[in-house]
């Protein structure tokens, strides 16, 4: 199977869906002009392939989302790109109060088939540009929130998200755009709401998503050499969350660690840990542990940034500690 980048996988998903459905449009800052297409090059070349359907917008995120919402209500399937997740803050009223609620407030008579694509996470971009808002989005009823870890999942999930009649927040990760992975040439879709076992193991369950899936896989490799058999549940979708798969794994291994890049307090790890103890209490052999980012505004200095975010070695340490019964 050919290996392509996460970036290329996303572009292929967009291209295929635009070919398939003429109502799919792409709006965002610099999606046409900058670096050949988008701050991270995901839409490069698409404006030429699909004249008039890929448009640059003013630097006005609230307007991007608001216009996308109106277009979705009117029959288009807009894919709005917000340059980084940090800029969605300006558009939160639109996202939370309008995008998420229209269908419910009009008794399902209105559908909002829009996708908001945005890179989440850190990337040498300092405090105001290095944040994870996955838990915030995932707490909003009637939003769907997707956070793929691999090129394969990114392509399959973006295609499904575009076809979905509900609004989908599509969280990419700055550090994943250039990662490579196998993606078949043939068309495929990945359902929203299904987690994926990225590794099968018997000793301990890691529940994670996005970039931390990749770090957890590295950790599992190191731990395997020590005889610790890690199972990795990659959520892929954060809302609706695939709780049955989490529970299935925990019931087998009796131990769970949630690994997330964002802040620990009120992070998704807290939600997942609570769910596990509610629904699989009798299967636990240790408290559910969390590996998460340090609770500070992100420093700019490279070494300090690295110290703030979890990496494979932090996952390795947490797993070892749990296997030593230190939790």
């Amino acid at each position: 199977m050919p290996e392509i980048t996460y970036r290329e996988a996303l572009k292929r998903a967009l291209r295929e869906e635009m070919q398939r459905d003429p109502t799919v449009v792409i709006w965002g800052e610099d999606v046409v002009a900058y670096a050949g297409g988008g701050a991270y090059g995901v839409t490069a070349g698409l404006a030429k392939e699909f004249p008039g359907r890929v448009r640059d917008t003013p630097i006005a995120e609230e307007a991007i989302v608001g216009v996308g919402l109106g277009a979705a209500m009117g029959g288009l399937r807009p894919v709005c790109e917000i340059m980084t997740v940090n800029f969605t803050l300006v558009a939160w009223d639109q996202i939370v109060n309008h995008v998420a609620k229209q269908s419910h407030m009009f008794n399902g008579q209105i559908k909002v088939p829009m996708v908001i694509r945005t890179p989440n996470g850190h990337g040498r971009t300092a405090a105001t540009h290095s944040q994870n808002f996955d838990a915030w989005f995932a707490s909003i009823p009637s939003l769907k929130v997707v956070a793929p870890a691999t090129p394969y999942d990114a392509k399959g999930l973006l295609k499904t998200a575009i076809r979905d009649d509900d609004p989908v927040i599509f969280l990419e990760h700055l550090q994943l755009y250039s990662t490579r992975g196998e993606v078949p040439d043939e068309e495929y879709l990945i359902p929203i709401g299904e987690a994926d076992y990225k590794r099968r193991g018997k000793d301990i369950t890691i529940v994670t998503w996005g970039r931390m899936t990749i770090e957890s896989l590295k950790a599992a490799k190191i731990l395997a050499e020590e005889g610790i058999d890690v199972e990795i549940v990659d959520l892929r979708t954060l809302r609706p969350m695939d709780v049955p798969t989490i529970l299935e794994s925990v019931r087998k291994t009796n131990r769970a660690i949630v690994v997330e890049e964002g802040w620990r307090t009120c992070g998704l790890g807290a939600e997942i840990a609570a769910t596990i103890q509610e629904q699989a209490f009798n299967y636990l052999d240790a408290p559910v542990a969390r590996v998460a980012g340090l609770e500070v505004p992100m420093p700019y200095a490279r070494n300090l940034e690295r110290a703030t975010i979890p990496f494979a070695e932090d996952v390795v340490e947490a797993v070892r500690a749990m296997m030593r019964n230190e939790y």
Binding site: N254, F281, N282, Y283, L284, D285, A286, N325, E326, Y327
Partner: protein
């Protein structure tokens, strides 16, 4: 005045019980006599009743917890009354109606025989999965050493404890782990690898009843020197009498069985042979004042022994009615505490299964057990002629520490005499 609710003793061989469920929660009003909890013993699940009226102020023993007889499991008091907690352990267990003494070598009702349960009832710190596994296997977690933080008991600790427990059955073959073919040192000839034994089939977990049967039967065979005597009983007269009795009692719905007649015959014979109505103790032979006949009843997942108390004082009709009720409750798992235990002699009857003969394992602390086979037509010699009679074999298994062959043979012949001259059972 706060009232301590203690783990009751139901049956003289009960040493502990498990809280199956609380029917009331802390803060609930309870009235004296109202069921407040379900207790699971090795034999059955029964409800216990409030000893006093008031508020269920404190639940001390949680569901799944095994509690020694006499230990406080809950406190009932007035709503505003101060209660001490933890309340000291009750000094003596609630006496049971049976006057039977505790056998010196108590047949452990628990499969956990190694180790001493520490005093006190401080909270056991164990992980949820460890608690669940312990409960499934009937393990007292107080006996398990915890390796986790602050001594928390983990799944691995329970599994290690399970592995260290004496096995009731032959150990299963080694796990099907393919032996790693380690390169043999060059100087030595290669060692032949043992053929791995594949594990096939499902391993059924042991139910509480299975564990109890396993422990009791193994203990009896290990501790009791058994000897066996068989007699063949001509049952034609007994069967004819039974037919007449049942015809007479038809309107009352009573149907006397062969087994009822054997119970009655054994009870009467025990009167004449009190040494068989006894229990071996390390410091003497305990003669029992009452003749309580235990009868093994097959139930869906094993067997239990129900007890016909003072069987020698009861008529065939009474015995029949009692046995019908006892067996029904046993099969439905609804035995009352008075339905079992306290037997001084046991009968096991496989007559309904068409068996020629069988030998039973002594049901400790009894001195003997009687195995009843099928009554069936057989050629026998009477006055030099071969004739057909309905014959039934009885095999007595005796505890040689208590009785000897000659005495047991006479006892068995007394049962035979009573069955062959059955009017003695009625008059």
């Amino acid at each position: 005045m706060p009232t301590n609710i203690t783990m009751p003793q139901m049956g003289f061989d009960m040493t502990e019980g498990t809280i199956a469920a609380w029917l009331k929660k802390e803060g609930d009003m309870v009235t004296r006599g109202e069921p407040i909890a379900e207790i699971e013993t090795d034999k059955t699940t029964i409800q216990i009743e409030a000893f006093a009226s008031g508020v269920l102020r404190k639940i001390i023993a949680q569901p799944g917890q095994r509690v020694p007889v006499g230990e406080v499991i809950a406190i009932i008091a007035d709503p505003s009354e101060a209660i001490d907690e933890p309340i000291a352990r009750a000094a003596t267990p609630q006496p049971e109606s049976s006057v039977l003494p505790q056998p010196a070598e108590s047949v452990a009702t628990s499969v956990v025989v190694s180790g001493v349960v520490p005093e006190g009832s401080e909270r056991i710190v164990a992980t949820p999965v460890a608690k669940r596994i312990a409960q499934e296997h009937g393990i007292d977690l107080r006996l398990v050493k915890g390796s986790g933080p602050e001594g928390r008991i983990t799944k691995a600790d329970v599994e290690a404890f399970l592995a260290s427990m004496p096995k009731a059955a032959p150990a299963p073959p080694a796990p099907a782990v393919a032996p790693v073919a380690a390169p043999a040192p060059a100087a030595l000839p290669p060692q032949p690898q043992p053929e791995p034994v594949p594990v096939v089939g499902i391993k059924q977990p042991l139910s509480r009843m299975r564990q109890t049967i396993a422990a009791r039967m193994a203990a009896s065979k290990q501790q009791v020197p058994h000897f066996y005597i068989t007699v063949s009983v001509e049952m034609d007269a007994a069967l004819a009498l039974r037919e007449q009795i049942n015809a007479a009692l038809k309107s009352e719905g009573v149907k006397v069985s062969i087994n009822d007649m054997v119970i009655r015959a054994a009870a009467l014979a025990l009167r004449r042979f009190p040494n068989l109505n006894a229990s071996f103790m390390n410091d003497g032979i305990q003669m029992h004042d009452h003749i309580n006949i235990g009868v093994a009843v097959s139930v869906p997942d094993g067997l239990v022994t129900v007890t016909v108390r003072d069987a020698d004082t009861k008529s065939l009709k009474q015995i029949s009615q009692e046995m019908t009720a006892l067996a029904a409750r046993a099969r439905e798992g609804k035995m009352l505490p008075s339905d079992y235990g306290g037997q001084t002699f046991t009968i096991s009857n496989l007559g309904m299964y068409g068996v020629d003969n069988f030998i039973a394992i002594v049901n400790q602390p009894d001195a003997a057990i009687l195995a009843v086979a099928t009554a069936q037509p057989m050629p026998v010699v009477r006055e030099g002629q071969i004739v057909i009679r309905t014959m039934m074999n009885l095999t007595l298994s005796g505890d040689h520490r208590v009785t000897d062959g000659a005495e047991a043979a006479q006892f068995l012949n007394e049962i035979k005499r009573l069955l062959e001259n059955p009017w003695g059972l009625v008059l």
